[in-house]
């Protein structure tokens, strides 16, 4: 790891109100600049909780998080400007057009009007949505909504992009477009933290990943290194099943 650490998580614990079990237990994680970092795990493993804490949506019960040298507790607005968050939900206003949605979120980031309009056109064009710029979100397909949802987190050119299941429920073509786009974003030196249940995507996209189970990291490394380490497995999915077991997690 020659590149500087941009996300430094130390001893992170999160216990939800009314629960005895911690959703995340004493998690230590360092993510370097430009990495495409995957957080994998079965349902309830603590992936979404971890990225929700990094995204400032949840307060940690314990632990310390430093992003780009700024402590999360003391520099929230500075950190919010550095990160882009794309949630599992389609967090868009259905009755507003694609442009209006992106313009609204962009202006809240403080982006200059003129530049923002150009940036919106550029991003919409990149994901094949420019011709739908003035259409309302409610007329969009699931895949189109996912793409707009992704763009909303990229408007302010964050140095760290946090993605929670960004391709869940989308068609193969949209998934492919999103995947290729994320590769390009990552190639522009944007650090990406990514959760997914789709092992194939994680294997193709992630430079490094952690497999979480019951709130703890059970394995960490590049997909290739993990498959090599577990010589009885031929794919990341097999490694995943080996480490987390075959039982259903509902």
């Amino acid at each position: 790891m020659n590149k500087p650490v941009v996300v430094d998580i130390q001893n992170l614990t999160k216990i939800y109100a009314g629960r005895h079990e911690a959703a995340v237990k004493n998690l230590d994680l360092q993510i370097c600049e430009g990495e495409f970092y995957g957080l994998l795990g079965p349902n309830g493993a603590g992936k979404t909780t971890t990225i929700s804490v990094i995204s400032s949506l949840l307060k940690p019960s314990n632990g310390n998080i430093v992003i780009h040298g700024y402590n999360l507790n003391d520099n929230l607005n500075k950190i919010k400007q550095l990160i882009g968050v794309v949630s599992q939900e389609i967090a868009l206003y259905n009755k507003m057009t694609a442009f209006e949605n992106l313009y609204y979120f962009g202006r809240l980031y403080g982006i200059d009007k003129g530049y923002l309009k150009k940036r919106i056109d550029f991003l919409l064009d990149r994901l094949g949505l420019l011709k739908y710029k003035n259409d309302k979100i409610l007329s969009f397909s699931g895949g189109m909504k996912r793409r707009i949802n992704l763009l909303a987190g990229l408007l302010h050119e964050p140095s760290i992009l946090i993605l929670d299941e960004p391709v869940v429920g989308v068609d193969v073509h949209s998934r492919n477009v999103i995947r290729e786009f994320l590769k390009e974003v990552n190639a522009d030196n944007t650090t990406i933290i990514y959760t997914s249940h789709i092992m194939e995507d994680a294997e193709k996209l992630c430079s490094r990943l952690s497999i979480l189970d019951y709130g703890e990291i059970v394995e960490q490394g590049s997909p290739h290194a993990l498959i090599t380490k577990h010589s009885d497995c031929s794919s990341l999915e097999e490694v995943f099943l080996k480490l987390t077991g075959q039982n259903l997690r509902d």
Partner: protein, 425 residues
């Protein structure tokens, strides 16, 4: 400032795109104010301003009946229809009309009623000055009868008022006849024709004045009360769409996204408040225009808005802030649309009931009058009363405006508290 304007821009777009919702927000309170003002018109005008239809069956056809008819017809209280003759069918017919509600009161004056009063007057003079008048009549206790029949739906108190008014007329006629008898006796005694005349007007007159805190000369009526009352009700009903708007944003994940953006949550909420205050102002303006132009067409009094437009605007803005702030608090507290609708609707109804929107505070029981002072709707209605009835200026409405603004601030602060510590997100 840019972020606040951006927030206002977004709320404006969302509102315009929900045109059906906006129409409902404007139209429903307008229908409400017209319907309730029409319903309450009677209660406000009261029996003294609405003439009671009376049928008088006059078989007497003499001084008493003519004086009585003249007196009753000349009063502001009764609308008189007279039936003269001696046919008992006339009386039966009049009774049937009263029973059918055509008339609310029937008065039957039998034959010779005037003569009975005259005889009694003569007897009184005879008793006082024996031999003064040549007459065979000598019964001071002789009594005639005037029969009254009422529509059964008329209240007891109303009957009492009508009866005492009629007794007053009969008594004045009797006094006049006695006066005439004495006058004739004195004329005979002095062998002169006296020029004494019974005075037309009573020695004592009553002067009436409405004494309340609102004494600018504009009489509170159904319109003056209902327009401000339903402006406030309509404004507070806005809490339901505001709360729904917040709950939807939360459900869609938009509020979570906003939490990851470096923007103050207060700016987002103020954006909502500004847009909804605008809606409240348009709503108030429409209600006032209905009061001025539409209500008179429906036979209701015209709304008098007083002379101070600035004070009117200040009261409206403060009321809008209070209502929008309340909506934001509900939206922050409630986790579902059902919770927000139920709580918003019921609390608005409670605020309206205790605030004097349905029944003016002045006619509430003493305990309720004290309780009404805690309703923000009461502060708003009182503020409008001040402007409409007293032509109060901006300084004079400041106490009500301050309370409304404090209420709005408390609600918005409460919503920030729930955002930070509540479970709703």
């Amino acid at each position: 400032m840019n972020k606040l304007l951006t927030s206002i821009y977004k709320e404006g777009i969302l509102l315009i795109r929900d045109i059906e919702g906006v129409v409902i927000m404007f139209v429903m309170p307008l229908i409400l104010v017209i319907v309730v003002a029409l319903l309450q018109q009677k209660a406000f005008t009261g029996i003294s301003e609405d003439k009671i239809p009376v049928v008088i069956v006059d078989f007497d056809n003499d001084a008493l009946s003519s004086s009585l008819i003249e007196g009753i017809a000349g009063s502001d209280m009764f609308a008189v229809t007279t039936v003269q003759g001696s046919d008992s069918l006339m009386l039966d017919n009049a009774k049937r009309n009263v029973a059918d509600g055509v008339f609310q009161i029937g008065i039957y004056i039998p034959q010779n009623t005037t003569n009975i009063i005259k005889s009694r007057a003569v007897s009184m003079v005879q008793q006082q000055i024996p031999g003064a008048i040549q007459s065979n009549v000598n019964d001071i206790n002789i009594q005639g009868k005037i029969h009254l029949f009422f529509d059964p739906v008329i209240k007891q108190s109303f009957r009492g008022i009508a009866k005492s008014t009629l007794m007053q007329f009969a008594s004045s006629v009797e006094t006049r006849i006695i006066f005439d008898a004495y006058s004739k006796f004195i004329d005979a005694l002095t062998n002169q024709t006296s020029e004494l005349e019974f005075p037309e007007k009573p020695a004592i007159e009553f002067s009436e004045e409405l004494v309340s805190e609102f004494t600018a000369g504009i009489v509170p009526n159904a319109v003056q009360h209902n327009v401000p009352a339903w402006i406030l009700f309509g404004m507070f009903l806005i809490c339901i769409p505001i709360a729904g708007n917040i709950i939807k944003e939360r459900g869609d994940g938009c509020l979570a996204r906003l939490k990851t953006i470096p923007v103050n949550y207060l700016q987002i909420m103020i954006g909502k408040v500004v847009v909804f205050v605008g809606i409240c102002l348009i709503q108030a303006l429409l209600m006032i225009l209905v009061g001025i132009f539409i209500m008179p067409l429906l036979g209701l009094p015209q709304l008098q808005v007083g002379g101070n437009i600035m004070a009117l605007l200040i009261v409206s803005v403060a009321s809008g802030f209070a209502a929008s702030g309340f909506g934001i608090l509900i939206g922050s507290m409630a986790t579902t649309h059902i919770q927000a609708s139920a709580f918003g609707a019921v609390s608005t109804v409670i605020f309206a009931a205790i605030g004097g929107a349905w029944i003016p505070v002045i006619i509430m029981p003493a305990v309720m009058q004290k309780i009404s002072a805690i309703s923000p709707m009461n502060w708003g209605i009182h503020g409008y009363y001040e402007v409409f009835l007293r032509s109060a200026n901006a300084l004079e409405v400041l106490p009500d405006v301050s309370k409304l603004m404090v209420f709005a601030t408390v609600c918005i602060t409460g919503s920030l508290f729930f955002r930070k510590y509540g479970k709703s997100l």
